[in-house]
Symmetry: C2
Subunit: 613 residues, 2 copies
């Protein structure tokens, strides 16, 4: 295994390990920070400015064009041009970060005052005590300070006592025009919300400081419903299998989200009661199961969801324990298979405001595909399977500590492992890399066969040849690495078939949406790749396996991270953006791929890997 | 006991028994029907038109003036002029009824369509089933038929299944813009609400058909909190006596209201789940205890209530079991001792629209007094004690079956008993009658002493003299009647003191409000007496004991029934009237009598009975 280098990002101190020669742009992606690259990393736009504070290499020709001598001496570089050759410490200015939450909040604040605030706000008040001369009822006295609000019974039951015990000084917790609580003293500094992406396979939760928009904790977990079936259809079937099955599915997911809340609170050292709002996004079936709504009709033509617009539900009704008066915003839906996660991606990627034809692909167990063109939105969903999240792959795993996230094949195999640890398995981006490299090496055929013996290229390096074996069930397999425990980490023929199914499904969906809009792939101004499947997608590898059309220039392809989660975060931080989500969901045209007569042939075609260079 | 005659009112068939010679106007009041009498029963306005269908006596001179020969032959008479001399059947046209709910509803319907509806409405819909061509989400499909509504989680959880099971035809239950339920088939005919007057001593509940405004059941009970104290102050003290006392008080009242709901449903043969809304009115302390809000501060200067505006609370949060999504409207408050029942009376008596100076007195354990003059409202409350509701009176009882409700003293005592039954006790109106008659007979002195022996008038009929005895505790008592079990029903010296306290408190309050407004009693255009304390107040008797100023002509005094309950009914039937209640509550000036330096002297003065004729 070649040398791995540590790259530390300030001010957070988040660190990742990468292979020598990796670009700083990619390293930032691995660390979960997406950098602005309008030129696609060609070094021509000068947007990806970062400052190296340790481990700086010399400036490149492009660096010299964009920075003054003082700046260069001060460590300023273009992230897309900087190859890492030593342990590095780097700081990324807010202006270089893509779609940063702070930017969004700042943008929103430039609008009218009504638009800027998150639904939740806190206001510290010091009231004049009631007297015979001024004997207004307590709530009216409070309303004179904070505006007209509605109070729930539980808050009313203790309001008079609270006001007197805290000597008429305290903090009103408001959700829109609802008084959620009255807390003694000044608690305006403690105001939190949590956003969740409820994936079919993976759950991710993010804890936000609602005052600053900062993320103060993040946690993820496997969706425990996977034990009842890998994909949404199998969950729908399971929910109908006995009278208690639907409740059982609901209970497991609620418990898992509640556990994530615990982890988030522990990480940030806050109390659950200080979380005043939740935002939940997921595909239609996941949201229905979470809310305990019927899913039977989601498994039958015409696959109609119960609701379309977003829901605001007391978190306690869902069974989630945060502040007793907290609401959960559940995302609006587009259709039976195009759910809140798609809407969430649309707002995160600002697709409604896209200037030219833009394609967004959210790679997960469902591949969500949205095409924006001429003020219209087309949205579809396709069953990609969980391969990109590491499931149903023999040595697959999530993109966490120990996962092989990058593979380079030359004379032999070089890998990068998340956390600079011994390898435990292969995550989605590692799988894409590996398949692309094996295709280039001629070890996998365009039909997806893992070749052996005489079928292999004559000039295949011996080290690679040695890695190919016939496995236990008479299927060929490729040895990627030895794990930390000495175990074999391999790619099997069956793994390649899973990848082909996923790739083919997404690519077929992309092709059909382009046809509907009367566009060719080369017409696209931008292709946005979203997903929590790996740390950083390498565009050429995604194109090499046919996941993305080859005739799109690299500089138009961008990885935008976990856009579904980002959209949920934004919905928590800005009611204006929430309104955008509602309008995008109603605006988008829902393309039902399963009912499209061209889909099967596109799918069969897309399963075949492209011929390569 | 003299002869009692049955008077039956059509179309309800409600019947009462009255003494021979009683006016029909009074009999109607006893039956809970208030008749329009702008002239105060002088026979000069012609508004109290009724039609006798059995038991008609001949027409009076006034009848001849107001009716044609055909009408007279058809049984038409003025209710104020008709003395009952036989069992009678009478029908009262809607136009003759005072403040009838139907009238109110009809009035409201004359306004814009937005104003007319109760908060609750049902709409039957037949939807086009979802198809691939028309795959809108279920709630959006429903919203296309019923307009934009918010749905709660529980309704959403079963909506998709319900829609399909009922073949897309069913009834949406709406509260404002909230979808409360979706019921299979057409249930628009079954839509009910219940209004409650939560008195310190007495609870009354009324079940209304929200489609027609008809009352379909009525029930009353003693407030079980009386076992913790007679008046609001003793309840407030009790609630502070141990950590669980407040919860205990709340539990008893909630249980009692829930029992009344059972009785109402049984009477009307409907299910609790068909009650979609509640309206609750009571004095400030009763409302606070019912809602579980702190009452400690209501017992301390400056007696500030928790809320001022009306509350809308899920009935389930209150612990009342009706439709699972039903809300309870809890009345707005004016001040610590001037509560929702006063507001309720204001809207029932339309005091905000009063053209001339108008006084309203609601006689209960608290006497609520409101003065309307020149577009202003002054409101006060005074602790009258429970004597008018039959409590703390040795033989006192509520105005139900077996209660002596009328007393006439000539050579001996004549009584009328509710339900034509044997006497069991004395209700509020009977107590007022009895005291007035005993004053006239010289048996009670202006100071309120029950005279004995030589202090009695020399010419007192022997039958009356025989009724006066010295009771067990050396106190004089007057024998009113022998009960059905042969028991002695008496008025004691202590009973007279209780009556004096109640009368004095109310009269002192009235005097202070008049002073505040710069008015004399004779300036008043109207005096409206409200209360559930008895069936029908006899004006001259109320003036005889000093409860009302003597210098008000009879025709300006009207009994308007249980106005607190009526106001609650109206709030259930019309959101426009609910808005009136909110605005009246905020408009009214709260006069804190306990802090008025003149109150004590007025009170002492008013305890003395007037001199009489």
């Amino acid at each position: 295994m070649s040398k791995q280098l540590r790259v530390t990002f300030e001010p957070h101190g988040r660190a990742v390990f990468v292979l020598e020669g990796t670009r700083l742009l990619e390293a930032a992606g691995c660390a979960g920070m997406t950098i602005e690259t309008p030129c696609g990393g060609a070094g021509t736009c000068g947007k990806c400015r970062v400052r190296l504070t340790a481990g700086a290499g010399g400036p490149t020709g492009q660096d010299v064009e964009f920075f003054s001598a003082e700046e260069l001496a001060d460590g300023w570089r273009l992230a897309c041009q900087t190859a890492i050759c030593a342990d590095t410490v780097v700081s990324i200015p807010a202006s270089s970060r893509f779609a940063d939450r702070h930017q969004i909040l700042a943008e929103a604040q430039a609008q009218t005052a009504d638009d800027v605030l998150p639904a939740i706000r806190k206001q510290y008040v010091q009231l004049t005590p009631a007297s015979l001369e001024d004997d207004a009822p307590d709530l009216i006295r409070l309303q004179e300070a904070i505006g007209h609000v509605q109070a729930d019974l539980e808050t009313m039951q203790t309001l008079s006592r609270s006001l007197r015990e805290c000597n008429w000084c305290g903090t009103a917790v408001l959700s829109d025009h609802r008084l959620m609580d009255f807390e003694p003293g000044d608690t305006t500094g403690q105001c939190y919300g949590a956003a969740f992406d409820i994936g079919t396979t993976t759950l991710v939760g993010s804890l936000l400081d609602l005052n600053t928009g900062d993320e103060i904790a993040i946690a993820s977990a496997i969706n425990p419903q996977t034990s009842f079936g890998d994909d949404v259809l199998s969950r729908i079937l399971y929910s109908q299998s006995s009278p208690s099955s639907a409740a059982e599915l609901r209970k497991t997911i609620i418990q898992a989200v509640d556990d994530l809340i615990s982890q988030l609170c522990t990480q940030a050292s806050i109390d659950r009661q200080q979380i005043y709002e939740l935002a939940l996004t997921g595909n239609t079936t996941m949201q229905h199961l979470l809310c305990g709504m019927d899913v039977k009709q989601l498994g039958e033509v015409p696959f109609t969801p119960t609701h379309g617009r977003g829901l605001i539900i007391p978190a306690s009704d869902l069974g989630l324990s945060v502040h007793r008066q907290a609401d959960a915003y559940v995302f609006p839906l587009i259709g039976g298979f195009v759910g809140g996660d798609t809407v969430s991606c649309i707002i995160a990627a600002k697709l409604s405001q896209a200037s030219g034809p833009t394609l967004m692909v959210d790679i997960g167990t469902n591949g969500e595909i949205v095409l924006a063109h001429d003020g219209e939105l087309w949205a579809a969903s396709t069953a990609a399977g969980p391969a990109f999240e590491g499931a149903r792959i023999s040595c697959g795993m999530r993109a966490t500590h120990g996962a092989i996230e990058k593979v380079v094949i030359g004379d032999d195999v070089e890998i990068n492992v998340i956390g600079n640890a011994g390898a435990s398995g292969l995550c989605g981006s590692g799988l894409i890399d590996l398949a692309a490299e094996l295709l280039n090496a001629g070890i996998i055929s365009p039909m997806g066969n893992l070749l052996t013996g005489d079928d292999l290229p004559a000039d295949l390096p011996i080290a690679l040849k040695k890695r190919i074996k016939i496995g236990a069930d008479d299927q060929p397999e490729f040895l990627i690495a030895r794990g930390s425990q000495g175990q074999r980490i391999t790619l099997t023929q069956r793994d390649i078939r899973e990848l082909q199914l996923g790739t083919g499904a997404i690519r077929a969906g992309v092709n059909i949406l382009l046809k509907r809009a009367g566009l060719a792939a080369s017409d696209l101004d931008a292709v946005l790749i979203a997903g929590g499947f790996g740390s950083f997608i390498r565009r050429s590898k995604a194109q090499r396996i046919g996941l993305l059309p080859e005739d799109i220039p690299h500089n138009r392809i961008k990885y935008i991270g976990n856009a579904a989660l980002n959209g949920a975060r934004w919905a928590l931080l800005s009611t204006r953006i929430r309104a955008e989500a509602e309008s995008a969901a109603r605006q988008a045209k829902h393309i039902e791929l399963s009912q499209d007569f061209e889909f099967q042939s596109e799918f069969a075609q897309a399963m075949i890997f492209p011929d390569g260079e």
